[in-house]
């Protein structure tokens, strides 16, 4: 059997051949990213290399920092100084970045963090894919924190979701984790790149008061405070709990209000953030849940299942967090089984189980040996539970 | 006639003074001393004991960690030349 995907025909400015990693870099520039700080790590290094090549051409700033921690710090500093910024890494580096990712979350700095997932844990399998960082992407840094996690699958999605990652980061003043895996990062094909004018670009909300009156965390405007950049709007901020002036506080009322607002900032915008790709879900009796490159394999498996008379359907989230719990429940309720396929030994399946609330049995196609999950494996499971 | 000796004025911010005694310690001419203020952690604050001894070296101001002491020069009238 041949694996092939239906090509979507769109009117586009240009068709170009690129890898997933390259697409991230190209899209970042198109989204207005003008600062990149990173550290080499397989399989993400091509993102850094491409940004090093592209940024000087647009008067942007590139720097290879001395380590992953410094990269996350520099990207956050540049964001506070007014630039759209990004850093990219893989598992071990993502672990290192957690503290400063939490800092970016706490000071509400827009930053895009790309994690091209590889076999883990620890040094793992640097040149093989995995999806073992998904829980870490959501919960990796300590404390209650706001983060949005995106999981594109196709090359075109990589491009568009990178732009969306920047838009979300800017609009909600939050770090956004863009998860790829080694397959997506390195797979190369043609991408229908929209013309820059076709892209919606969102910038951080700007203050409307003069600098002397500016408060960096003024919640009177809603859950996302206007963000002035350093030097134009001098302000203080800290990783400590702080009030709307940016200065530290331990006052329980203020601290509670801060942390609740920061979570509400993301979860209160669930509808705007949620984005799924669905195939054959209208009447699906077997609901498959998969994301990233496994999601692409699931698309093929579901198509074959239909060809064989099985009413299978696929929910492939592009926004992994906030989790599409309602959609999962609504589809699971109408199905007789849910199959979760992921390149780990059981992470998102827990979220699916939680969302399904026991209304339908949930099964897993779980693998963490560095090999991709292929359509026949998913089809076999679909048949088994059908 | 010799120019009159420069005169100085020292202002203490008792609210910010923590009674650390550094200014008393660094003053080369014994201008300052400490007085009781039991509400303070160290139980004391600085006061100006003898302003006439002040030579305006600024060491107290430079060495105070708390912006609690300032030295100002007092503008002097020139003594009229006789004869």
């Amino acid at each position: 059997m041949k694996y092939h995907r239906k090509r979507r025909h769109k009117v586009a400015k240009r068709l170009e051949v690129m890898s997933g990693n390259e697409a991230v870099a190209r899209a970042a520039i198109a989204a207005g990213c003008r600062f990149y700080a990173g550290y080499p790590i397989t399989p993400s290094s091509e993102i850094a290399e491409k940004m090093a090549e592209l940024l000087p051409k647009v008067d942007g700033k590139f720097i290879q920092m001395e380590d992953e921690i410094a990269s996350m710090a520099a990207a956050t500093g540049a964001s506070l100084a007014g630039l759209k910024s990004m850093t990219a890494t893989s598992g071990p580096g993502f672990s290192l970045k957690q503290e400063n990712l939490g800092f970016a979350s706490m000071v509400e700095a827009p930053v895009v963090i790309v994690d091209v997932m590889r076999g883990g844990p620890s040094t793992g399998l640097p040149t093989f894919p995995a999806q073992g960082d998904v829980m870490q992407a959501i919960w990796g840094t300590h404390g209650d924190h706001a983060v949005v996690v995106l999981t594109p699958g196709t090359l075109e999605e990589v491009y568009l979701e990178t732009v969306r990652a920047f838009n979300i980061a800017e609009k909600l003043r939050t770090p956004v984790v863009l998860l790829l895996d080694e397959i997506i990062g390195h797979m190369t094909g043609d991408v229908m790149i929209p013309d820059d004018s076709e892209l919606e670009i969102i910038d951080r909300p700007k203050p409307t008061v003069p600098p002397e009156e500016y408060l960096p965390y003024d919640d009177s405007y809603g859950d996302v405070p206007p963000m002035g950049s350093y030097f134009e709007y001098p302000f203080h901020t800290t990783g400590l709990h702080h009030d709307k002036t940016g200065f530290p506080t331990t006052n329980p009322v203020k601290c509670g209000a801060l942390i609740e607002r920061m979570l509400r900032k993301v979860f209160g915008n669930r509808e705007w953030l949620e984005k799924n790709v669905e195939h054959y879900t209208e009447d699906a009796e077997i609901l498959v849940f998969a994301f990233g490159s496994t999601g692409l394999a699931a698309e093929v498996a579901v198509k074959w299942a239909r060809e064989q008379g099985i009413k299978a359907g696929l929910l492939r989230p592009l926004t992994l967090w906030p989790f599409p719990e309602k959609r999962v429940y609504d589809l699971a309720e109408k199905a007789k089984a849910v199959v979760v396929a992921e390149m780990n030994l059981g992470m998102m399946i827990r979220e699916v189980e939680r969302a399904v609330r026991g209304v339908t049995p949930v099964y897993g196609v779980l693998k963490a040996n560095g090999q991709p999950i292929e359509p026949p494996e998913i089809l076999a499971k679909i048949k088994e539970v059908a | 006639m010799a120019k009159p000796k420069k005169k100085f004025r020292i202002e203490v911010n008792e609210e910010w003074c923590k009674g650390c005694v550094i200014c008393v310690d660094v003053c080369p001419t014994n201008v300052l001393d400490m007085k009781d203020m039991l509400s303070k952690w160290e139980g004391m604050v600085v006061y100006v004991k003898d302003i006439d001894k002040c030579i305006g070296c600024d060491l107290c101001e430079l060495s105070c960690p708390d912006f609690a002491i300032e030295v100002y020069e007092v503008p002097q009238e020139e003594e009229a030349q006789s004869g």
Binding site: F35, A37, P56, K57, D59, K61, I63, M65, E66, D67, I69, A70, S71, A73, A74, A75, T76, G77, A78, S79, L80, A81, G82, L83, S85, E99, N100, F103, Y230, F231, E232, P234, F235, H236, T237, T238, G239, L240, F247, P248 | W16, K18, C20, V21, I22, D25, W41, E42, D58, L59, E61, L62, S63, C64, P65, D66, F67, E70, V71, Y72
Partner: protein, 273 residues
């Protein structure tokens, strides 16, 4: 003649949290005076810190201020400076913040020679967290994690900075605030990475654990060990053991990071025309 600090401080945050007699306040004032004498507008200055007693300084000064994570101030500051090379970035850090957890960022900032001024306030202990040993705690002295006396040798901040390539390196102590200010100003003037170490007294943690007495005693203990650089040049390593050599060690010019980057950008943009 009294310097007017008011425009540069956030008065509503005072009195500050530092212990009575702590040298950090003296450093803060010296930084303010140096910035003022540079003629810079306060809106054009950023003060970045990590975690620790020294790192509490940004909250009190009226600049663009950022209080970051332990040891990482220089990395955040690099992001800010690289994004806005036209602005002025100062970093304050304690000995633990700059030389232990922050060691890697310290040496790379020196190597890059990025136009940032780092002031390391060295009080030879981890003050805020309760008196643990620091990479600058002298051998033999007690700390909460070396209760029987420190068995480790300590760093010489100046040597580290010189070895890593900083273009302005100086040291003073809290006993000489005028010299402190002069060195900071020279650091600010230096178009490159400047490291100024200020030796200070933490009588509450370092002093008390070593039964050294109060702030005055500890300041005098430091003063007795101060040796001016011109005199130190003629002294042997044994004679200099345990001493604090005061002065300016390096003052040189080397290509500065943001300038080199800008030149490269011009070259790239010119080539692609």
């Amino acid at each position: 003649m009294a310097f007017n600090y008011k425009p540069y401080i956030r008065e509503d945050k005072f009195p500050n949290i530092w212990c009575p007699g702590c040298g950090i306040g003296i450093l803060m004032k010296a930084i303010i005076r140096a910035v003022h004498k540079m003629g810079w507008k306060r809106e054009d200055v950023a003060l970045v810190s990590g975690i620790g007693c020294t790192s509490r300084m940004p909250g009190y000064v009226n600049f663009n201020t950022l209080h970051t994570t332990h040891g990482r101030a220089l990395a955040f500051a690099t992001g800010i400076k690289h994004a806005r090379p036209d602005k002025h970035v100062i970093v304050v850090s304690g000995d633990g913040d700059a030389l232990a957890i922050g060691g890697n960022h310290f040496i790379h900032a020196c190597r890059r020679n990025i136009d940032i001024t780092l002031i390391v306030l060295n009080n030879m202990i981890y003050g805020m967290t309760g008196g643990q040993v620091s990479p600058t705690t002298p051998a033999g002295y007690r700390a909460s994690t070396m209760p029987y006396g420190n068995v480790e040798p300590n760093f010489d901040t100046v040597n580290l900075a010189i070895g890593a390539g900083a273009t302005y390196v100086a040291r003073s102590t809290v006993n000489n605030p005028a010299l402190m200010e002069r060195q900071i100003k020279e650091g600010l003037q230096n178009k490159g990475f400047s490291v100024i170490e200020v030796v200070s007294n933490c009588h509450i943690q370092f002093g008390r654990r070593n039964k050294m007495g109060d702030q005055l005693v500890l300041r005098h203990w430091i003063k007795e060990r101060e040796v001016p650089l011109r005199k130190a040049k003629d002294m042997s390593p044994e004679e200099l053991e345990g001493k604090f050599v005061i002065g300016t060690f390096v003052k040189k010019t080397r290509p500065e990071y943001t300038e080199e980057y800008a030149k490269m950008v011009e070259r790239v943009k010119g080539a692609s025309k």
